[in-house]
Symmetry: C2
Subunit: 162 residues, 2 copies
DNA sequence: TCAATCTAGGATATCGAATGTCCATGATTG
DNA sequence: CAATCATGGACATTCGATATCCTAGATTGA
């Protein structure tokens, strides 16, 4: 029951983009170097963000990615689902249909009771992530990360931003 | 991000065992035939329940499994974790350590902010499952499943219970 | 006592998804 | 016009999920 590591990468990339000045872009190359992850594979995750409409892209030199919306208008859930997809952790295989006592004709009006409970848990998970925005993350990072490291990171990124 | 299908099987097996009269046992063979799943592989899941102390076992003919505790004292979370393990959906790879601006000497006092948020969602998922017991499931099934099917299923199992 | 049946658990095979690489294409920039 | 970019398809690799098979030791019932 693991999320792809691309989810982690995408969240950190969004975090970086959230502090990017208006109108600037960060390329896959820069983002991959900053996070120490493979460029080609990170690209797939970023394309997921792009298809979900969370980021805006431009081509050519000085091209790359930026957030399509303000940081407070993008939730963790959106980023996670853009990369991971929307399927729930629990897959119901309709095991109840295998019951040897069950008449073929019987038709279920509700999903399996076990599945309903498991899906409720998934929903709680999603609600939690839907309640946190990239702006909230930025705020937390301001407290967590030493100011000079934030500054140096920002400068490093600005040197490479298109 | 999937749970193993063994989790589904284990939950349905526990549901069946919850209606088992005191002192009776159900073998892997019976449980696998009732649910239409492979016996050997289901056995691994049941062994997981056994190691977690959720079920009691006996050997020999007429042997098998029964719940080690009353149904209202066993939660969904316990069953899920017995089979799936306890690791969270989000694995933090400490990506922040790859930041090229980061001094080697810097030591983090907290887990990564991204991980903390993701783990909060996992915690909400777990809390939801911890709040539901096998007795709750039984109650729901009484409403969902036609009475005659419940009766026939019970009789089918009793014929095979040790 | 003995044969049958059970759980426990190790060894191994298969399959699909996660992970990662490579390349072609078309757009954009300077 | 050359360099750089995102996009996306094809492909290779790795790893866990999904099984299957077999042995060992315990228990039951005849």
């Amino acid at each position: 029951m693991n999320l792809k590591n691309q989810v982690e990468w995408a969240l950190h990339c969004c975090s970086v983009m959230a502090s990017l000045p208006e109108g600037r872009y960060l390329s896959t190359r820069s983002l991959s170097e900053f996070h120490g992850v493979p460029k080609e594979y990170l690209g797939k995750a970023l394309q997921g963000l792009s298809k979900a409409g969370l980021v805006h892209t431009t081509l050519g030199p000085s091209g790359g990615y930026r957030l399509a919306r303000p940081a407070q208008a993008i939730t963790f859930l959106e980023v996670v689902e853009a990369v991971e997809g929307r399927k729930s952790t629990f897959q119901c295989s309709e095991i109840r249909a295998n019951n040897p006592c069950r008449p073929k004709s019987l038709c279920d009006d509700k999903p399996c009771a076990v599945a309903r409970i498991m899906w409720r848990a998934d929903e709680a998970w999603r609600q939690t992530l839907a309640a946190v925005t990239l702006a909230d993350l930025q705020e937390t990072l301001q407290e967590d990360v030493p100011a000079d490291l934030l500054k140096r990171s920002f400068d490093w990124l600005m040197e490479r931003a298109g």
